[in-house]
C-alpha cells in the first residue's frame, strides 16, 4: 500500500517511526506493506515511487529541518499540490496543522486526493469541522474512503467504540470531555485554586496547550470534534457553524470551589442530543465521566444498552499515529 504523507510534524514523525520499528510485525500480522512514496513538509518534498527510506528521512528532518534536504529524492520548494493528483498512491495521509477559519491547506489537499480517487486518512480537524458532509459525499462519489479516527480522542478509539455501541441501538445522547488542555486547566484551578491565566501558562509550559490557546480555551477544538462525532454517529449533516459554543475564559476558581463543595466539578462538555452544544457544565464528581488531568472521556447513552463510557489520552504523537495505523488497516481490509 503506497502512502503520501502531507505534513511532517510530531504525529507524522511518530507514524514513520512506528512504520520503521514495526515493519515486520505489520507485514506478518496484518499482511500490510505500507510504503511511504512521498512526504511533504513546509520545506518541500521527498519522493521515491519505490518507497522512501524512512530512517534516512527522519535523520534528514532532524538535521536540516525539512525532508526536502534528502539527497537524490528531495525537491525543496515543492508542495503537496504538485503531487497529490498525479502521483500513484492508495492513501493520502493529511497531517497539516488545524485551521478552523478556512480549513486550508488541508481542505485543498483532501479534495484533490478524493477527486483523484485516493483514500484519505486525516488527523487534521479543520477541513472536517468546516465541510465534513461535503467531503464524505466526495469520498462516496469517488468510491474511496475517508477516515479520521485520530481527530477525536487522539489514540483512544472513540469513533470506533461509539459505532459499536450504537449499532442496532437508538442514540439518546452523547456527551464528553473532548479537550485535554482545558480539562487539565480546570483540574488545576479546582485542586490548587489557581486563576485561569496561571493555569493557562502552566498548561503552555507543559506543552498541553498551544502558543495560541484560543482553539482550546474558547471551545473551538471541542466543537470541531463534536461536528465530527455528530456526522459520524447521527444522520445530521452539520458543520462548525451549527454548534453553539462557549469556552472557559469566564470560569473563576471560586466557581469551581463552590461547585466542589456541593459535590460537583465544572467541565468543558460537548453534548449531542437534539441540539449540538459545547460549554462549561457541572458534572457530579461520582459520575464516571468526571475525569481529571489531560484525559478525554465520552459517554454514549442509548436506548437499550444504557450508558457506555470510553476514557483515554486525548492527544500525543505516538497515540495519534496509532489511530492512523488503525484507519489504514481499516481501509486495507475494505480494499
Amino acid at each position: 500500500m503506497r502512502l503520501i504523507l502531507i505534513g511532517y510534524g510530531v504525529v507524522a514523525q511518530s507514524l514513520t517511526k512506528i512504520l520503521t520499528v514495526r515493519k515486520q510485525e505489520i507485514l506478518k500480522r496484518h499482511k500490510m506493506h505500507p510504503r511511504v512514496v512521498a512526504i511533504v513538509d513546509r520545506g518541500g518534498l521527498a519522493l521515491n515511487p519505490k518507497g522512501l527510506d524512512l530512517e534516512k528521512v527522519e535523520a534528514t528532518k532532524k538535521k536540516y529541518g525539512s525532508v526536502a534536504a534528502i539527497p537524490e529524492y528531495g525537491s525543496p520548494g515543492k508542495t503537496a499540490q504538485d503531487i497529490i493528483e498525479n502521483l500513484d498512491a492508495e492513501v493520502v495521509i493529511e497531517a497539516t496543522p488545524t485551521n478552523l477559519n478556512s480549513g486550508e491547506p488541508g481542505m485543498s489537499h483532501m479534495e484533490e486526493a478524493l477527486k483523484s480517487g485516493k483514500n484519505v486518512v486525516t488527523v487534521n480537524k479543520g477541513p472536517l469541522a468546516l465541510a465534513l458532509p461535503a467531503l464524505s459525499e466526495m469520498a462516496t462519489y469517488n468510491d474511496v474512503h475517508l477516515r479520521f479516527g485520530g481527530t477525536v480522542g487522539g489514540g483512544t478509539p472513540i469513533l470506533d467504540f461509539g459505532k459499536k455501541c450504537l449499532s442496532f441501538d437508538k442514540l439518546i445522547a452523547i456527551e464528553g470531555i473532548l479537550n485535554g488542555s482545558t480539562n487539565y486547566m480546570l483540574t488545576e484551578m479546582e485542586q490548587h485554586g489557581t486563576t485561569f491565566e496561571e493555569a493557562l501558562s502552566e498548561a503552555q509550559d507543559k506543552g498541553y496547550a498551544e502558543a495560541d490557546p484560543s482553539l482550546d480555551v474558547d471551545g473551538l477544538d471541542a466543537a470541531a470534534k463534536l461536528v465530527i462525532m455528530a456526522n459520524w454517529f447521527t444522520d445530521k449533516e452539520v458543520t462548525l457553524k451549527d454548534i453553539s459554543i462557549k469556552g472557559i475564559r469566564d470560569i473563576k476558581p471560586e466557581n469551581l470551589k463552590e461547585a466542589s463543595e456541593r459535590g460537583f466539578a465544572i467541565k468543558l462538555i460537548g453534548r449531542i442530543d437534539e441540539e449540538l452544544k459545547v460549554g462549561p457544565a457541572e458534572l457530579r464528581k461520582s459520575d464516571p465521566l468526571c475525569i481529571g488531568g489531560t484525559l478525554n472521556a465520552v459517554k454514549f447513552q442509548s436506548e437499550f444498552a444504557g450508558d457506555e463510557i470510553i476514557i483515554g489520552k486525548g492527544a500525543g504523537g505516538p497515540e495519534t499515529a496509532s489511530a492512523i495505523l488503525r484507519d489504514l488497516l481499516d481501509i486495507r481490509e475494505k480494499m
Binding site: 477527486k115 465541510a131 469517488n142 449533516e237 458543520t239
Partner: protein, 467 residues
C-alpha cells in the same frame, strides 16, 4: 425575504420582456435578497441541439450562417433593452466573445466528426450563458448591482451523467453558500445560468430539459431561501388544461407530493426533478406569471392540510399513449409473468405509465408512450407468445390517460365511484383504471375521441372550476 427568481425563456425573449424582468427585480430588491436564475431565450436550446447534431456532418458555412442568426437574436435584444452606452458596449463585447467560443467548439466537433455527450452538454450550455449576460446588463442599466454566474461558477457540482446530471448536494450546498452568500449580504444580485453545472473536475454538464427549475431549487436549498419563484408564462398550476376547459382555475396551494404527481402527469409549469431539493429542505416554491406577477399563483409547500370537501385538485389529460393487453389462460397461477414483462420493457428502455392486472391473472394491461408501441408489441410477442406464456397480445393506440390528483382523495370513500359515474353519465366507457396505494391519484384510460368530454365531466363532478 430571501428569494430565488427563475425566469424562463418565454419571459425573456424580447427587449420589452427583458426590461420588464429587470423592473420586477428592481421593485423587489429593496427589502429582499434576490438571486436570479435565467433560462436560454425560447428556442435557443433547440437551435443549439440542432447545431450540435449538424456540426457532425455539415460544413463550416452552415455553422457560420446559423451563428449569424444566433448572434443577431442576442445582440438585438441587448441593444434594445439597455440604454447606457458603456454598459451596452460591454454586454455586446461579452456576447460576441461567448459566441466566438461557441463557434470554435462547433468547429472542433465538426473537425473531429463526432459529438460526445460531454461536448454536447458544453454546446447546449451556451444559451443560458448568453442570457445571464443580457439580464445582468439590463439590471445594471437601471442602477442595480448584479453579477453574472454560470451554474458551475456559482458552485453547482454534479456527477458525470452528461445530459441529465445529478447534483452532489452536500458539496453543492457548501460551495454555493460560500460563493453567493457574501454577494447577497453586500446587496449584489447574482444572475445564474439555469440548466448548466459542472463535474468536480470542472467539465460542463447539463441538468436535463427543464433543468433551470432544478437550478432554482438547488440554489434555494443551498441558500436556505424563504421562497423560490418560478416565473413563467402561466398563472401557476391549473386544475386542468385551460385549452380544454375555459373554467380551469389556478390551484392556490399544493403539497410537494401533489405537485410531483401533477408534474409527472404533464403539468409543464414545473420540472419534476426540481421538487426534490425543495421538499428535502422544506423550501416553498411559488409558480407565478411574469406578466401578471401579483395575479393568482400556486404555492407548493410542506403544508399537508386538506381543505374540507376538497377531494381532487386537478385532472390532467395525457395523450400520445397506447394500451397493451396481454392475455391467455396460460398465465393463470404462473408466477413471474409480470416480471417477464417488466424485464422485457426495461431491456428496451420502454417506460410503463400504468399497469393493472385482474385477480384471475388471465389479463395484464399496460399503458406506454405511443412511440414505443411497435417495439413493445414486437418484443412482447417474442418473449411471451413463443414460449406459451400468453396467447394474445393486442394494442389500442386510440386511447388516452386521465389522471386525477389530490391528497384529499386519501381515505375518502367513493372517489372512484364518482369518477366512474361522472364518465358513465356521458356514455363514456372506462377501459382501464389504476390507483396507487398512496391514494394521491387515480388514473383511468378512455378512448381518445371522448377524452375531452371525460375531463370536463370529472372537472365538474369534483367542483374544480371557478366558483
Amino acid at each position: 425575504m430571501k428569494i430565488i427568481m427563475k425566469f424562463g425563456g418565454t419571459s425573456l425573449n424580447s427587449a420589452d420582456k427583458v426590461r420588464n424582468v429587470s423592473r420586477i427585480v428592481k421593485d423587489h430588491s429593496q427589502n429582499n435578497q434576490i438571486t436570479i436564475v435565467a433560462s436560454a431565450l425560447s428556442g435557443v436550446t433547440n437551435l443549439l441541439e440542432k447545431l450540435s447534431k449538424q456540426s457532425k456532418h455539415n460544413s463550416k458555412k452552415i455553422i457560420a450562417n446559423e451563428l449569424e442568426k444566433f448572434t443577431k437574436l442576442h445582440t438585438n435584444i441587448s441593444k434594445d433593452s439597455i440604454k447606457d452606452q458603456k454598459i451596452k458596449e460591454e454586454v455586446l463585447k461579452n456576447i460576441l466573445s461567448i459566441i466566438n467560443e461557441l463557434k470554435s467548439v462547433l468547429e472542433g466537433v465538426y473537425a473531429i466528426g463526432e459529438i460526445t455527450p460531454r461536448s454536447r452538454d458544453k454546446i447546449l450550455s451556451f444559451g443560458e450563458r448568453l442570457t445571464v449576460i443580457i439580464v445582468t446588463g439590463a439590471l445594471k442599466d437601471i442602477g442595480i448591482s448584479a453579477e453574472p454566474f454560470t451554474g458551475a461558477k456559482a458552485g453547482i457540482v454534479t456527477d458525470e451523467k452528461y445530459g441529465e446530471a445529478n447534483p452532489l448536494m452536500s458539496i453543492t450546498k457548501m460551495r454555493i453558500s460560500e460563493i453567493l452568500q457574501p454577494l447577497l449580504s453586500k446587496g449584489i444580485i447574482p444572475v445564474v445560468t439555469g440548466f448548466m453545472a459542472a463535474t468536480q473536475t470542472g467539465d460542463i454538464t447539463t441538468l436535463g430539459r427543464g433543468g433551470s427549475d432544478f437550478t432554482a431549487t438547488i440554489l434555494g436549498a443551498a441558500l436556505s431561501v424563504d421562497e423560490v419563484w418560478i416565473c413563467t408564462d402561466v398563472n401557476g398550476m391549473m386544475t386542468t388544461d385551460p385549452k380544454i376547459i375555459s373554467d380551469a382555475r389556478t390551484i392556490s396551494q399544493l403539497s410537494y407530493s401533489e405537485a410531483l404527481e401533477m408534474t409527472v402527469f404533464g403539468a409543464k409549469a414545473l420540472h419534476p426533478r426540481a421538487i426534490e431539493p425543495a421538499q428535502e429542505n422544506k423550501i416553498p416554491v411559488r409558480i407565478k406569471n411574469t406578466l401578471d406577477l401579483t395575479g393568482s399563483d400556486t404555492l407548493i409547500s410542506n403544508d399537508q392540510s386538506i381543505i374540507k370537501g376538497e377531494i381532487a385538485k386537478s385532472v390532467a389529460l395525457i395523450k400520445d399513449v397506447a394500451m397493451v393487453n396481454i392475455g391467455g389462460a396460460g398465465m393463470v397461477g404462473k408466477p413471474g409473468i409480470a416480471a417477464k414483462v417488466f424485464e422485457t420493457f426495461a431491456k428496451e428502455e420502454i417506460n410503463i405509465l400504468m399497469i393493472s392486472q385482474s385477480v384471475s391473472e388471465a389479463n395484464i394491461s399496460l399503458v406506454i408512450h405511443k412511440h414505443n408501441l411497435e417495439n413493445a408489441v414486437n418484443t412482447l410477442e417474442l418473449s411471451l407468445l413463443s414460449r406459451g406464456f400468453a396467447n394474445r397480445i393486442n394494442a389500442e393506440d386510440d386511447v388516452c390517460v386521465i389522471a386525477i390528483v389530490g391528497a384529499g382523495m386519501k381515505g375518502s370513500q367513493g372517489v372512484a365511484a364518482r369518477v366512474f359515474k361522472a364518465v358513465a353519465d356521458k356514455r363514456i366507457n372506462v377501459r382501464m383504471i389504476a390507483q396507487g396505494s398512496s391514494e394521491l391519484n387515480i388514473s383511468i384510460v378512455v378512448k381518445e375521441k371522448s377524452c375531452e368530454k371525460a375531463v370536463m365531466a370529472i372537472h365538474k363532478e369534483f367542483d374544480m372550476g371557478k366558483s
